[in-house]
Point group: C2
Amino acid sequence: IIQAEGLSRYYQAGGEVVKALDHVTFSVKRGGFTALVGTSGSGKSTLLNLVGTLDRPTAGDILIEGQSLAKATEQQRIMHRRERVGFIFQSFNLIPTLSAAENVEVPMMLTNVGKRQRKARALELLNRVHLSHRASHKPNQLSGGENQRVAIARAMANRPALLLADEPTGNLDSKTETAVLELLIELLTQDQVTMLLVTHDPQVAAHADQIIHLLDGQIERIESLSQK
Amino acid sequence: IIQAEGLSRYYQAGGEVVKALDHVTFSVKRGGFTALVGTSGSGKSTLLNLVGTLDRPTAGDILIEGQSLAKATEQQRIMHRRERVGFIFQSFNLIPTLSAAENVEVPMMLTNVGKRQRKARALELLNRVHLSHRASHKPNQLSGGENQRVAIARAMANRPALLLADEPTGNLDSKTETAVLELLIELLTQDQVTMLLVTHDPQVAAHADQIIHLLDGQIERIESLSQK
Ligand SMILES: Nc1ncnc2c1ncn2[C@@H]1O[C@H](COP(=O)(O)OP(=O)(O)OP(=O)(O)O)[C@@H](O)[C@H]1O
Ligand SMILES: Nc1ncnc2c1ncn2[C@@H]1O[C@H](COP(=O)(O)OP(=O)(O)OP(=O)(O)O)[C@@H](O)[C@H]1O
Ligand SMILES: [Mg+2]
Ligand SMILES: [Mg+2]
C-alpha cells in the first residue's frame, strides 16, 4: 500500500546541506505494521511527514495504493491526508482553544460525520485511552501523557486506512502504554489499518512484522518478521 | 535540601475540582537523586513545577535549604530559579528564534557569565549530548530528540545546585539516552548536584537512591535504596 522510492529530503541549515533523508526505498503491505527505529536525528519524523504529505521530498517518490504522491494534485494530497491518514505527531499539535473531545472530533468534521455520531465516537475513543474524565479539559489543562493520548484518539477518529504514529508512547508509563498498544493492535487486526510507527521502545517494535532501521538519513537494514 | 510538607495543588476545570497534588510530603537530601514515577496524570510535572517555583501551591509548603518558598519574596523566588535550579521541561520550551548554542547560553546570560566563557561552555555541553553538529540550528530545524538534548544542556549550563528534570529521555533512543544518563550521573557524583527526575523508564529510576511513587496526586509509597 506504501512504496517509497529513492526518497530524499535535504535542508540548507547552519551553512551546510543536511541530508535528513537520503535515497530511502522500502514498502509496507496492506494491513501491515512497520516499526521505524533509529537514533535521534536519523530521519524518522522526516520520513513520516513525507508519507503523510505534510512535507514534499527533495527527490524520489512515494506511491500510495499505486498512485504517485509527487504527481498528485494539491486536491488529491488534501484528500489523502483527510480521508486516509491518521497522524500522531511527536509533539501532539492539538488545538489549544478546543477541549480534548473537540480535538478528537476535528477530523470527523473534515469528513462531514454527523454531529451526534462525532460526539459519541470522540467519547468512545477517549474512553479507550482512559481519558473520559478529561474530555472537557483543554490541552493546557492536561498532562504531557494525557495530551499524547488525545492526539492518539484524534488520529483514530476516522478509522484511517493508514496510521502514521511518531513515538506515540514516549510520554506514557508502562500501564498506559499497554492500553494504547492494545488499541493499536485492535485497529490492525479488526480494521486492517496499515501502520507506520516510529518508536524507541523495543516492546512496541516487537509487535511489528517489519522493522526499518534508519541511520543518518539512510536505511541501515530492514528486518522482516514474516511469521506474524 | 528539599522538604515538601502537605503540598497541594488544586485546579477548577471541567466543572469540578481537580486535585493534581493532594497533601504530598517528602524530602530529598543534598546530593541525592530522587526519581519520581507514576501513571500519566498522577501529578509528577505539577510537583516539579512547584519545587522549581514555576507555580504556587494551593496549600502546603516547600523548604529549600531550610527556607520556606511560601514565605519567600518574589525576588528570592527569582534568585532561586536563576541561580540554583536547572529545569528540563517535558515539552522542552526552547526559544524558537535562538540557535541551539544560544539557547544553552541563556541561563548563563541571566547570571552574568562572560561571553567567551558562555560560548565555550555551551559548545562543551552540546558536545556532551552529541549535538556539536547542530549548534547553529534553530529548534524548528531539529528533531524531537535533538530539541530534548538542547533542553538538557541548557538546564546544566549554570551547574545548578538543583536539577529538576521532567522525563528528559522520553524522546531518545537507548544509545543517546545512555549518553545523557552518563552526563546526569557525572553531575551527581562530581558536582554534587541534587536531582529530582521524573521518569517512566525503570532503567533510569534504577540509578536513584529514592523513588517516590505518585498516584492520583498522592504519594503511594516511597522506596529508599540506602545502599547507594
Ligand atoms: N491547568 C489545569 N487545569 C486542570 N487540571 C489540570 C491542569 N494542569 C494539570 N491538570 C491535571 O492535573 C493532573 C496532573 O497533571 P501532571 O501534568 O502533573 O501529570 P503528570 O504526572 O506529569 O503526567 P504525565 O506523565 O502524563 O506527564 C492531570 O490529571 C491533569 O489533567
Ligand atoms: N528544517 C530543518 N533544517 C535543517 N535540518 C533539519 C530540519 N528539520 C530536521 N532537520 C535535521 O534532520 C535530521 C532528521 O530529523 P528528524 O526529525 O527526522 O529525526 P528523528 O529521527 O525523528 O529524530 P528523533 O528521534 O530525535 O525525533 C536531524 O538531524 C535534524 O537536525
Ligand atoms: Mg522525531
Ligand atoms: Mg508530566
